[in-house]
Structures are given as structure tokens and as C-alpha cells.
């Protein structure tokens, strides 16, 4: 890799927001952007959570999918539904058949489930609105991030994958319909890449 990365290994990768070598500039940058007001987060081993917040708009969806009921109350692992995340660049919306796998028997009396059943019977998947969108010139791979932070991360329990997801998606457990709570800008990515020694080559992420 670039020399720069080798250099950055000279310093401990502890609690800093940005690696020290950018020193003054980083400070300046931080002042300019008023960073550092990150949401309190559970610790993920061998990882520095990216900092930055964004107040997302509410995006109306065809069905008000309650993330809180699934992920928080029922404690379903994120990857149970977003199963492509560990295998592909996109996390994917679960196929309608997956929803129906449970909801052909569970909570069939709820209006949202009836809505879902309607779609299923029409043989037509709901058209969801994308909440977490990166520009089209960005190549982002869920797979690699999950590998780095979950599967290849010693001491990381797959049960706690939501903490890794929360790096970029915020605390989805507390939301019904997902909202964007992280800026997902290049600066956001770059700071995390620096802190966690991710690749710094432009063509890793730009296409």
C-alpha cells in the first residue's frame, strides 16, 4: 500500500478522531466542521467508530416497516433479513418470500402485514425508497466491511453485528422506518478509513 499507511502505523490507533499525522489540519478541520458530537455507542473491538451525525428526513415507505419491533423487541439479527450484506456489495432488501415466511402465520391481523400479504398475493414486491444512498460514483461493499469488522475481527461476536451496522446506519433498533442518521459523506468515510486503517486508494471506493 501507500507509504502513508505504513507511516500511520507508527502511532497507536486508540481514541483519536483522525490520525495524528494530520495534526493541525485535522484540528482545524474538526473546528470547521464542529465534529465530535457522536452518539454514544457500544464498543466494537479493534474498531474505531466513525464520527459524525446527520439529521435525516422521514422517508415515506410503502409499508412502515418497524425496525424496532424486529431488531429490538424480538432481537432479530440484522443479517437475518439483510442476508446479502455479508456476501455482496449491497445489503439488499429481503425478498418478499422471506417476510412471508414468518408473516403467513405471525401477526396476520395487523394492517401492515395485511398490506404485505396483498403485495405477495399480487406477485409484486413493494417498491421501497432508498434511505441510505451513496452517490453513483461510489463503490461501497457491505461484504468487505462486514468481513473487516465482524467475521475477521477477533473478539467480535456476530450477535452484536448491529453495533457495526450502527457505524453507518445509526441505531436502527430505535427506529421504525429507517432514517439516515450518519452523513455518509466522503469525509465521514475517510475519517473512518484513517482511524481503522482502511484502504486510502481512490479507486477502492470510486468507480
Amino acid at each position: 500500500m501507500l507509504n502513508i499507511r505504513i507511516v500511520s502505523k507508527l502511532f497507536d490507533s486508540g481514541m483519536r478522531v483522525v490520525s495524528r499525522r494530520r495534526g493541525l489540519m485535522a484540528l482545524l478541520m474538526a473546528c470547521c466542521l464542529g465534529l465530535g458530537s457522536g452518539v454514544a455507542q457500544a464498543e466494537v473491538p479493534n474498531a474505531v467508530a466513525p464520527k459524525g451525525t446527520h439529521s435525516g428526513e422521514h422517508v415515506p415507505q410503502p409499508i412502515d416497516f418497524p425496525h424496532d419491533i424486529h431488531a429490538d423487541i424480538n432481537g432479530i439479527n440484522c443479517m437475518y433479513c439483510h442476508t446479502y450484506a455479508r456476501r455482496s456489495k449491497v445489503a439488499g432488501i429481503p425478498p418478499t418470500s422471506k417476510c412471508m415466511g414468518c408473516h403467513s402465520v405471525i401477526a396476520t391481523d395487523k394492517p401492515r402485514i395485511q398490506q404485505l400479504t396483498e403485495y405477495w398475493e399480487k406477485n409484486e414486491p413493494p417498491r421501497w425508497k432508498k434511505v441510505h444512498d451513496v452517490p453513483d460514483f461510489v463503490h461501497f461493499t457491505h461484504e468487505k466491511h462486514l468481513q473487516r469488522f465482524v467475521f475477521e475481527n477477533e473478539g467480535m461476536n456476530v450477535e452484536n453485528v448491529d453495533q457495526v451496522c450502527a457505524f453507518c446506519h445509526g441505531d436502527v433498533k430505535k427506529m421504525t422506518v429507517a432514517e439516515k442518521t450518519k452523513p455518509l459523506t466522503m469525509g465521514f468515510c475517510v475519517r473512518c478509513h484513517e482511524a481503522n486503517e482502511g484502504p486510502s486508494d481512490c479507486w477502492h471506493c470510486h468507480k
Binding site: 494530520r22 489540519m25 482545524l28 478541520m29 470547521c32 466542521l33 459523506t185 466522503m186 469525509g187 475517510v190 484513517e194
Partner: protein, 473 residues
Amino acid sequence: MQTKDINENIAWAQINADVLRSMESPRMGYWIAVAACLAMVACAVVAEIYQYQIGMGVGNLNWPHMWDIYIATFVFWIGMSHSGTLLSAILHIIHADWRKPIYRFAEAMTTFSLMTAGLFPIIHLGRVWNMYWVLPYVSDRGIWPNYRSPLVWDAFAITTYLTSSALFLFIGMIPDLAICRDNARGWRQKLYTVLSMGWQGDDRQWRNFRKIYLLMACFLIPLAVSVHSIVSADFAMSIMPGWHITSFPPYFVAGALYSGCAAIITLFIILRYFFRFDEYMTIPILEKTCKLTFAIAMVWSYLTLIEFASVWYGHDLVAKESLMERFVGPYSPFFWLMLFCGIICPFALAIEKMRRHLPTMFVVSLLLNLGMWLERWMIVTPTLATSHYPFAWDVMWPGMVQWAIVFGSFGWFGLLFLIFVKVFPSVSMYEVKEMVFHRRHAHRPDLAAKFHRRSSDQQPGDTASGQPRPEGA
């Protein structure tokens, strides 16, 4: 027939009156000129909006002609900007006081041609809206401009040059702005009060003024040289035949001074005619300018020929090919016209009769400027047309959009200049007074002995400053 640089018996009040008169309410002719310039600018604005909306291809830019007359015109305007520096800074340092009546508008020309030139790299960008990316600013994303790129050097150099030359113009104008302040009414008074920054002509101000003016001149001369060297680096740092030429930096600097001087002659004649500045912009001063221009023209001609020779005797066949392409290729008519305007025409400046004839000089100066514009075009385009790679050879003629924007740039420059001459004194009043003062005293040996001594040539018996002088000294 004028034989003196300036009439040394001219009353100071007359100087003030003459110059302030030039700033008074404009007449019809002025408004027509403004309207013409605005129309030209409008052409360019329309063309630029069209280009911005549709894409860079509308002006016939193509592969391999990625650059064309935008860059040529950019270099031209940068070159023009060297006039002010030359006249003002160099002649100031060598105490050539005939510069005094004409340096103000030359400096204004510097600033305005830079303001025009600076537009071209922006206009020619494919994604104008991201132009600030060439400036080094601390970014969230941790990315910087590429400092290796001569275009970034351009950005640095032009910013520095524009800042410095604008400040130079402004500093040199402060005493005159004070005069304006003292004579103006209404909004103008408010404006000049702010701009003159409390100038009251006391000795502390003059003393520091002298220092800063000299220092700025010292900064500006190397800056001007570096700016045009850097502009030449856009070409010289590339590996293209016909661009990658070692003598480009001095060649560009010489060309810049040349076109700057030619433009000064043009504007000299225009201002003299329209503002009746016959008393200040005198024929002898024009003659001096012309002689200077002639000398520079000869330097430029020499460098041109040397460039051909060095390419010709060099072993690079591709560069040779590119040179021959200029002589006999599709662009050769323009190349020969450039050589005619640049090398033959300046000989008119060497002939006294022609030099003293204003209409002739006006035409000649325009021809010189045309030659200098063509020179830039003939540097940029033929190299792109015929370079290392034969498959990519192509002849391209700039489209209307490009011409409109280049045309409009002259309107823009003219507009800025027209505004300048009505808002600011285009002849330096205080320096003409100085010139008159010193010339008058030069004819009085007694006064000369008394006043024309500088602190450096102290006579024996002078004591340290501030101490009383012994009796009878």
C-alpha cells in the same frame, strides 16, 4: 511639436483640474463605448452559458484539440498584464521619471487584463462549478490539489499577481484618491474618503509610502517574471513537441512585455485623444515607449528565431516536424502573419516619423497585439494538431462559441477600463506634479544643489539625523 516630456511650467492646479475633468460626468461617446463593451460581454456571457449547459464541445473543442484559443487568449491577457509592471516597477526603480504620466493606466491595465485572463482557465474547465478544487483548502475529505501541476502553479501565481498588482495600483493611487476626496462631492466623496484611507500627505506617510512603493516594485518585478514563466510552464513542462522548449520562460516573458508595451501604446493614444491629455501623454513620452517596445520586440524576435533554431538543430524529429507544420501546415497563414506582425511591424517603431504620427502608431500597436495573440494561438494549437501520435493528428477551427467568448473578453477588459477611467484618475496627479517639480528644479542649478540631494549622499560635516547642525555649516 512637443519636444519636452512635459511642460514644466504647468500649474499644479491645472494638473488637478485636467485629470479631475477626465473623471467628470461622461459624455455620449463614453456611453456608446460602454454599450459596445457590454454588448461584447453579453455575447461572451450567452456563449458561456450555452457552453456551460451543453458542454465544452460546442466550441469545436475535440480530441486532440483539448485546448484552443481559450488558453491562447489566457496567455495573451497574462502577457498584456506585464505592461504595468514593466513601466511602473522597472522604470520606477531605475528612476525613469517619464513613466509618471502614463504608469497609472498601465497598472490598471495590468490588473484588468489579469482579471480577464483569470476568467479563461475557469471558462475552459469542463466542470466550472468545481474550480475551487485547484486551491489548497483544508477539506473534510483530506484531499489537496496536485502541486506538481503547472495549472496549480498558475492558480497560485495568478492569485499572487492579481493581489499584488491590484495592491500596487491601489497603493500608488492613495495620494491621488486623497485629491479626489478633497474635490469630490456626494457618493464619490464617500467612496474616496474610504479609499484614500485618511491620507493627508504628511511626511510620515510619504516616507513609508516611498518605502512600500519601492518594495512593492521590487516584489513585482520577479513576480511578473515568475508569473509568465509559470504560464510558459503549462507548455514547457509538458512533453509535447513544440511545447517542451527550454527557452519558453524567457520567450514568454519577452512576449508578455512586448504585448504589454504594444497595448500601452494603443491605450496611450486612445486616452490622449479622448481625454485631451496632450499635456501629459506627450509625444516624447510616446516616443520613449515606442523605443522601449522596439527594443523588446527585437528581444522577442531574437528569442523566436532562437527557438526555431534550437528545435531545428536539436535531434528531436517530432519537434522538428511540429515546427515544420507551423511553417507549411494548415495553420501556416496565421503563423506567417504572426511573424509579420511580430517581427516586421515593430520596425515602424524605429522610424521617427512614424513614431510621432499617432494614427500610424495606433494601427501599428494593434498589429503588434494581433501578432502577439496569434503567437499564443500558434503555440497552443499546432502542437495539438501535430504531436507524437500521427493517428491523432487533426486540424480544427475554433467554433463560434470560442470566438464569442474571446471577443467578449475584450469587451470585459474594455468595460473594466472604462469604469476605471471615470472612477479613478487615469493620470497620476501627484507624480506628474513631482515630475514637473523636479524637471523645473533641474534647470536651476542652485535649487538642484539644494534639493536634489538624497540622504545617501550626505556632505561632509552632516551629522546624524535629528541632531542640530553646527553653526555655519
